[in-house]
C-alpha cells in the first residue's frame, strides 16, 4: 500500500485529475502561508518600532487578501476533493461490477460475495477520507516545506541550516508510523470484509444454525472476535501513536532549537524582531505538513487499503473464458453438438467429468442420468461456457445446405453472449431476484407480454398458485424466492425457461421438488417445448427420462463405458 497508489491512478481517471487540482491548491496554499507569515510579522513588529510614522495599511490589506484567498481555497479544496472521491468511487465500483460479470459465475480468488459487496460500498466510501484529507496533506507536505525552507534561507540562513539538519528525523519516524498504520489498516479492512462475508453466510444459514442450536454461539464468537481484534489493533496503535507522539515532540524540539537560536540573537541584539518573528512563524510550517501526512495516512488508510484490494482484483487477469474469442455463432436449430473427449477436473482424485464423447443432433431430446456427483451439472456448465474443460472440446457442427460441406466451430472460440442467447437453462438451484414474479420471469425475456407470461406459468403448472397470491404475478418475492414453497419456486424457474424460447434447452432436474401431478404437467410441457428444439434434460425420475429420445448415464461413462 503506497501513499499514492499508481494502480489507483491507472484505474480511476478522476483520481489523476484530482491530483492536478490538489497540486494547484497545494502550491497556492504554500504561497499564502508564506505571505501570511510576512504580513503577521509586520503587524506584530512595526507598531513596536520606535519610529513614529507607522504605516500598517499595507500589511492589513495583504492579510485581508490572504485570508480571503484562503476562504476560496478552502471551498475549492474541499468541494473538489469530495467530488473527485465520488467520481473515483464510482469508477472503481463500475470496473468491479464489469469484472464480476466478465469473469462469470466461477469466481475463485476474488473473495466471498459479502466481502465483495462490502468492498464495493463501504470500502470505496472510505476513499472520501483519502481524497479530502490525505491527498491534500501529502501535496502540502511536498510543496510547502521546500518553499518555506527557501524563504527561511533568504531571511535567516542559520535557522534554515538547523531545520535542514533536523528535518531527516521526520521521515524516519514518519515511516515507522506509516508502516504500522498501513499494516493495521490492511488488517482492519480484511477483518471487516471477513466479518461481512461471515455475517452474510450466517444470515443465509440462520435456520440451519438454529436447528443445530449454534446461532447464539455465534454472538459470543462475534464478541470474542471483536475483543481480540480490539486488543490486537490497540497493540499496533499504541506503537503507531507513540511514534506519532515522539514525532510531534521531536518537531517541537526542532522548533525550539530554532527559537533558542533566535532568542539568543534577539537578546544580544544581533537580529531584528521582525526577522525573528517571521522565522518563528514559518519554522513549524516545515514540520507540520510532514507530521500531518503521517497522521492522515493512518486516518484515511482504510480507504487506501480497500482501494488496494479493489485494484488488485481489477489487475488480476480474468482466468475463465470470459467472453469467448468472439467468432459468430452458428444457428443452433440446424447445428449439432459434438463433444469430444471432454474432461473437467477440479483437482480432486476423480475428475468431475471424464472423457465424455457425445453427439447431439438438432431437435434431439437427450436424457442425462447418472448417480449424484457424476458430472451432469458440470456437463451443462461446460455447454453454457461457465466451466472450462481440462481436456477435450465442444464442437458445433453445421452442414452447409448448399455445398454439403461441414463447418466445425469450437465453443471456446465463439462469442459466448451470442451463444447463450440461443440457450434456455433451468439450473439445479435457480436464483430469484427479490422482485415481482413478473420481473423474475422477464429476466428470461424482457419483452414478453402478459399473455406470454401466463402461458409460461401454465406450462410450468404455476398458474394456479400464482393466481392465488396477493397481486398474482405482481407479487413481490423475498430473498431466495421466499415465501414460496420449494416446489413453487421450482415451477417459477421452469416458467422462465418456457418463456425463453431458445433453440437449445438445458434442464437440470426440472421436476425436482414437484409432486407427481405437477411433474406430469411439466413433463407434458417439456414434451411440447421439445418440438423443434434440442433438449438436454438431466433427470433422475422416470417421468422425464421416458420422453427422451435417448438417455445417457454419466455414471457409466465415467466408469469406462460409452453412453
Amino acid at each position: 500500500m503506497k501513499p499514492l497508489d499508481p494502480r489507483l491512478l491507472r484505474h480511476a481517471a478522476a483520481a489523476r485529475r484530482q491530483l492536478c487540482v490538489a497540486g494547484a491548491i497545494g502550491v497556492a496554499g504554500a504561497v499564502l502561508t508564506v505571505t501570511q507569515a510576512f504580513a503577521l510579522a509586520d503587524l506584530v513588529t512595526r507598531p513596536l518600532q520606535a519610529s513614529g510614522a507607522v504605516r500598517l495599511r499595507g500589511p492589513f490589506i495583504v492579510l485581508a487578501a490572504v485570508l480571503a484567498a484562503r476562504t476560496v481555497l478552502a471551498w475549492a479544496g474541499e468541494a473538489s476533493a469530495y467530488r473527485a472521491a465520488s467520481a473515483v468511487k464510482s469508477q472503481l465500483r463500475r470496473a468491479l461490477f464489469r469484472r464480476v460479470l466478465e469473469v462469470g459465475p466461477v469466481r475463485q480468488d476474488t473473495g466471498s460475495d459479502g466481502d465483495l459487496a462490502t468492498l464495493a460500498t463501504r470500502g470505496t466510501d472510505a476513499l472520501d477520507g483519502y481524497f479530502s484529507r490525505f491527498l491534500p496533506a501529502l501535496i502540502t507536505a511536498v510543496v510547502t516545506p521546500p518553499a518555506v525552507l527557501t524563504v527561511l534561507a533568504t531571511q535567516d540562513p542559520l535557522s534554515a541550516v538547523i531545520v535542514l539538519v533536523t528535518l531527516p528525523l521526520v521521515p524516519v519516524f514518519g515511516f515507522l508510523l506509516g508502516s504500522a498504520a498501513a499494516r493495521r489498516n490492511r488488517e482492519q479492512w480484511s477483518t471487516l470484509t471477513t466479518l461481512a462475508g461471515h455475517f452474510l453466510d450466517v444470515v443465509e444459514g440462520l435456520t440451519t444454525l438454529l436447528v443445530v442450536r449454534r446461532a447464539t454461539v455465534q454472538v459470543a464468537a462475534i464478541r470474542r472476535a471483536a475483543d481480540e481484534h480490539r486488543r490486537a489493533t490497540m497493540a499496533t496503535l499504541r506503537l503507531a501513536f507513540l511514534s506519532s507522539a515522539v514525532l510531534e515532540f521531536l518537531t517541537t524540539i526542532c522548533v525550539a532549537l530554532v527559537a533558542v537560536a533566535i532568542g539568543l540573537r534577539l537578546l544580544s541584539g544581533r537580529m531584528d524582531l521582525r526577522t525573528g518573528l517571521l522565522v518563528l512563524i514559518l519554522t513549524p510550517e516545515v514540520y507540520w505538513p510532514l507530521r500531518q501526512v503521517a497522521a492522515q495516512f493512518h486516518a484515511s488508510g482504510e480507504g487506501l487499503a480497500a482501494a488496494g484490494r479493489l485494484t488488485q482484483i481489477l489487475d488480476t487477469p480474468a482466468p475463465a473464458p470470459a467472453r469467448g474469442a468472439g467468432l459468430p455463432v452458428p444457428d443452433l436449430t440446424r447445428a449439432s453438438l459434438r463433444i469430444e473427449g471432454l474432461s473437467v477436473d477440479y483437482g480432486r482424485a476423480r475428475p468431475a467429468l471424464a472423457t465424455l464423447d457425445l453427439r447431439v443432433t438438432p431437435g434431439e431430446h437427450l436424457g442425462v442420468a447418472g448417480p449424484s456427483g457424476s458430472g451432469k451439472s458440470t456437463l451443462l456448465a461446460v455447454l453454457l461456457g461457465f466451466a472450462t474443460p481440462s481436456q477435450g472440446r465442444v464442437l458445433i457442427e453445421t452442414a452447409d445446405g448448399v455445398s454439403g460441406l461441414i463447418d466445425l466451430a469450437d465453443l471456446a472460440d465463439l462469442d459466448l453472449d451470442a451463444w447463450r442467447s440461443q440457450i434456455a437453462w433451468v439450473p439445479q438451484r435457480p436464483w430469484f431476484a427479490a422482485r415481482s414474479i413478473a420481473e423474475n420471469l422477464r429476466i428470461a425475456r424482457p419483452d414478453a407480454s402478459d399473455e406470454e407470461l401466463d402461458q409460461a406459468l401454465r406450462s410450468a403448472d404455476a398458474d394456479r398458485f400464482v393466481a392465488a397470491l396477493p397481486g398474482g404475478t405482481s407479487f413481490v418475492l423475498g430473498e431466495d424466492g421466499a415465501p414460496l414453497s420449494a416446489g413453487q419456486r421450482q415451477r417459477i424457474a421452469l416458467a422462465r425457461a418456457f418463456l425463453r424460447d431458445a433453440a437449445l434447452v438445458l434442464l437440470d432436474e426440472p421436476t425436482a421438488h414437484l409432486d407427481p401431478d405437477s411433474e406430469q404437467v411439466v413433463a407434458g410441457a417439456v414434451r411440447r417445448l421439445a418440438r423443434g428444439r434440442t433438449v438436454i434434460a438431466v433427470a433422475h425420475r422416470p417421468a422425464l427420462l421416458a420422453d427422451a429420445d435417448r438417455v445417457i448415464d454419466l455414471g457409466l461413462v465415467t466408469a469406462g463405458a460409452v453412453g
Binding site: R83, A120, G205, L210, V212, L280
Partner: protein, 570 residues
C-alpha cells in the same frame, strides 16, 4: 436519543478522550501564545529572570501537547473499537430470532449494510460528532478567556470568528446537505443489495443475457450515490469556506484591535504578539466541525434504520417462564393445529391431528405448496400454531425453551445451508464434540464415502460459498449426515431424497429410517423412496388436513412402485 445509549460500554473513555483532546489543543494554543510573548519580550532585552516563567511554560506545553494527544487518540480508538464490537454483536443477536419467518422480509444487502455501514455511522456519532464538538467548545472557551484577560476587545473579535467557524459554518453545511445525507444510508443499502444480486445471480443472469440490464440497475443506484455525494461536496465546501472565513475574521480583527489598543498604549508589545497570533492556533480545533454537522443527518438516518431492525418482533416469542425439558422417550402430538404465516395470511394448516409415539415413522406427502414444510416449521417451533397445540412429552412447545425443543427434534430443511468453511466445520455444527472418525462415518452412512475419499484435503476441503463446490445431491446428503451426527430422538426430514438418483436415495432413507435406531421420523416427501420403510403414509390435503394416503400409496404398495421405477430406469 437512543443512539446515545450505544456509547455505554465506552462512556468514561469518551469523556476522558474529549478532555485529553481539548487539553492537547489548548496546550497548542498556549504554546503559540507563550512563544510569541517570549520572542517579543526577548527582543526588548529584559533581565533573564523576566523570561524564566515563559521559558518554563514553553517547555511544559511542548511536552503536554504530544502527550495529551497520544492519550486522546489511544482512548478514543479503544472506545470506538469497544462500541463497534458491542453494537455488531447486538445486531447479530437481534437478527437471530427473526429467522426464518420474519427474516425474508429483509433484503440481505440491507442487513449487511446495517451491520457494516449503519453500525459504523452510529459509532461516528461519538468519534466524529460528539467528541470534536466537545473539544472545540472547550478550546474555544479557553482561548476566548485567555484573550479576554489580555484584551477584552480582542476576545470579542475572536468570539465572533469562533462563532462563524464553529456555529454558522456547521449549520450552513448541515442545512445544505441534510436532505442528501438522509438519503445516503438507504442509497448505500440499496447499492449493497443490488451488488449482492449481481454477484449471486451472475450465473442465471449471464445465461439469460440479462447481465447488462442488471448492471444498468446497479449503475443507476451508483448514480444516485454520486448525486448525493455532489450535494455533500458543495456542503462541505461551503462549510470549510465559512470556517476559513471565521478564522480570517478573527485573525484580521484581532490584529486590528491589538493595533488600536497598542496605539493608545493599552497593550504592551509582547501581549500584542499574543493577541495577534493566538487566533491562528485556536481554529485548529474547529476544523472538523462542518464535517461533523454534515455527518449528523446521516448518523440519524442510519440509527433509525438500525433501530427499526432491532425493534422487529420475532414470529415466535420465548415464554416468560419456560418449563424444563421433560424426560424422554418423547411422544410428539399435534391436536387440531391451525397455522398461518402471518395474521392476514390464509390458514395453511387447518385442523391437523397427529400423534407420534416414540419410534414411529410416518411419511407425509401432498401437493407442492400444501403445507408440508409448514408442518415441519411448527414441529421445530419456527412458527407457533394460531389454534390447537403441539406437545412434546405432554408439554406444549410454547412453554419450552426453543433450544430445548431443538435438542430433541432434529430437522433437515429442503434447502439446508452449507457454510462457506471446510467440510469438518460444516459437519461439526451438528455435534461439536465429534472426532474426525465419527464425521467420516457419518459421511459414509449417507453414501458420501467415495466422494470423500477423492478429496485430497479430506475434512479440510473448503466447500465454497453456499456449498458451491458440491453437487446438488452431495449438498443434500451433507445435510443428512448432520442430522445423523446430531442423533436426536425425533427428526423431521423435508424432502430428504430430492436431487438424488433412485439408488442413492433408497440407500440413504434406509439409513435414516432404520427401525433399530428407535428414532421417531416425520418424512415430508414427494418421492417414492422410503415409503416402503415407514409405518404409515399420510397425505396433507389442499384444505390443510392430514388424511391417510389414498389407496395405492401404502407402504406395501410403495415397494411395488419402487420396483416399477427401477425396471423402467434400467
Amino acid at each position: 436519543m437512543r443512539a446515545a445509549r450505544t456509547a455505554r460500554p465506552a462512556a468514561s473513555r469518551l469523556v476522558l478522550g474529549a478532555l485529553a483532546g481539548a487539553g492537547a489543543l489548548a496546550s497548542g494554543c498556549a504554546l503559540t501564545a507563550t512563544a510569541a510573548w517570549l520572542i517579543v519580550r526577548a527582543s526588548q532585552r529584559p533581565e533573564e529572570t523576566a523570561l524564566a516563567f515563559a521559558i518554563v511554560g514553553v517547555r511544559l506545553f511542548g511536552i503536554t501537547r504530544p502527550l495529551l494527544r497520544y492519550l486522546e487518540r489511544l482512548v478514543c480508538h479503544d472506545a470506538a473499537l469497544r462500541m463497534l464490537g458491542e453494537l455488531r454483536a447486538t445486531v447479530y443477536e437481534h437478527v437471530i430470532p427473526l429467522a426464518p419467518a420474519r427474516l425474508h422480509a429483509y433484503r440481505r444487502g440491507e442487513l449487511l449494510a446495517g451491520l457494516v455501514a449503519d453500525v459504523d455511522a452510529v459509532q461516528d456519532l461519538w468519534l466524529r460528532v460528539a467528541e470534536p464538538v466537545a473539544v472545540a467548545a472547550l478550546v474555544s472557551v479557553f482561548c476566548t478567556s485567555l484573550a479576554a484577560w489580555l484584551l477584552p476587545a480582542g476576545a470579542a473579535v475572536l468570539a465572533v470568528g469562533l462563532a462563524c467557524a464553529g456555529v454558522i459554518a456547521p449549520l450552513a453545511a448541515a442545512a445544505c446537505s441534510r436532505r442528501a445525507q438522509e438519503r445516503l444510508a438507504p442509497a448505500r443499502a440499496a447499492l449493497t443489495t443490488a451488488t449482492l444480486d449481481l454477484l449471486r445471480g451472475a450465473p442465471d443472469l449471464i445465461a439469460a443475457g440479462a447481465a447488462r440490464a442488471e448492471l444498468d440497475r446497479v449503475e443507476a443506484l451508483d448514480d444516485e450515490l454520486d448525486k448525493i455525494a455532489a450535494r455533500c461536496a458543495s456542503a462541505a465546501g461551503i462549510g470549510s469556506a465559512l470556517a476559513a472565513m471565521g478564522a480570517g475574521i478573527a485573525v484580521w480583527g484581532c490584529a486590528r484591535v491589538a493595533d488600536s489598543a497598542q496605539r493608545v498604549g493599552h497593550l504592551a508589545g509582547p501581549t500584542l504578539a499574543v493577541v495577534v497570533l493566538l487566533p491562528l492556533a485556536a481554529f485548529e480545533a474547529l476544523a472538523p466541525l462542518p464535517g461533523a454537522a454534515v455527518l449528523l443527518a446521516h448518523v440519524r438516518s442510519a440509527a433509525a434504520r438500525l433501530f427499526a431492525l432491532l425493534d422487529e418482533q420475532p414470529a415466535v416469542a420465548q415464554a416468560a417462564i419456560t418449563q424444563p425439558l421433560p424426560q424422554g422417550p418423547y411422544t410428539l402430538a399435534l391436536r387440531d393445529v391451525r397455522a398461518r404465516w402471518s395474521a392476514a395470511g390464509p390458514l395453511v394448516l387447518d385442523g391437523v391431528d397427529l400423534v407420534l409415539e416414540p419410534g414411529r415413522r410416518v411419511a407425509v406427502t401432498g401437493a407442492s405448496g400444501c403445507g408440508k414444510s409448514t408442518l415441519g416449521a411448527l414441529l421445530l417451533r419456527f412458527l407457533d400454531p394460531c389454534a390447537g397445540s403441539v406437545t412434546l412429552g405432554g408439554v406444549d412447545l410454547r412453554m419450552l425453551c426453543q433450544d430445548d425443543v431443538r435438542r430433541v427434534i432434529g430437522h433437515v430443511a429442503d434447502d439446508a445451508h452449507v457454510f462457506d468453511s471446510d467440510l469438518r466445520e460444516n459437519l461439526r455444527l451438528a455435534r461439536p464434540d465429534a472426532d474426525d472418525a465419527r464425521l467420516v462415518e457419518a459421511l459414509r452412512r449417507v453414501g458420501l464415502g467415495p466422494w470423500f475419499e477423492a478429496l485430497p484435503e479430506g475434512l479440510a476441503t473448503r466447500l465454497g460459498q453456499r456449498g458451491g463446490a458440491l453437487s446438488g445431491g452431495e449438498r443434500r446428503r451433507l445435510a443428512l449426515a448432520r442430522v445423523l451426527l446430531a442423533d436426536q430422538p425425533i427428526v423431521v426430514l423435508d424432502e430428504p431424497t430430492e436431487g438424488l438418483d433412485p439408488a442413492s436415495a433408497q440407500a440413504v432413507v434406509a439409513e435414516l429410517l432404520d427401525a433399530a435406531s428407535g428414532r421417531t421420523v416425520v418424512m415430508l416427501t414427494h418421492r417414492p423412496e422410503g415409503l416402503d420403510l415407514v409405518d404409515e403414509i399420510l397425505t396433507l390435503t389442499g384444505s390443510g388436513r392430514l388424511r391417510p394416503a389414498p389407496a395405492g400409496l401404502r407402504p406395501a404398495d410403495a415397494a411395488a412402485y419402487q420396483d416399477a421405477v427401477a425396471a423402467r430406469a434400467a
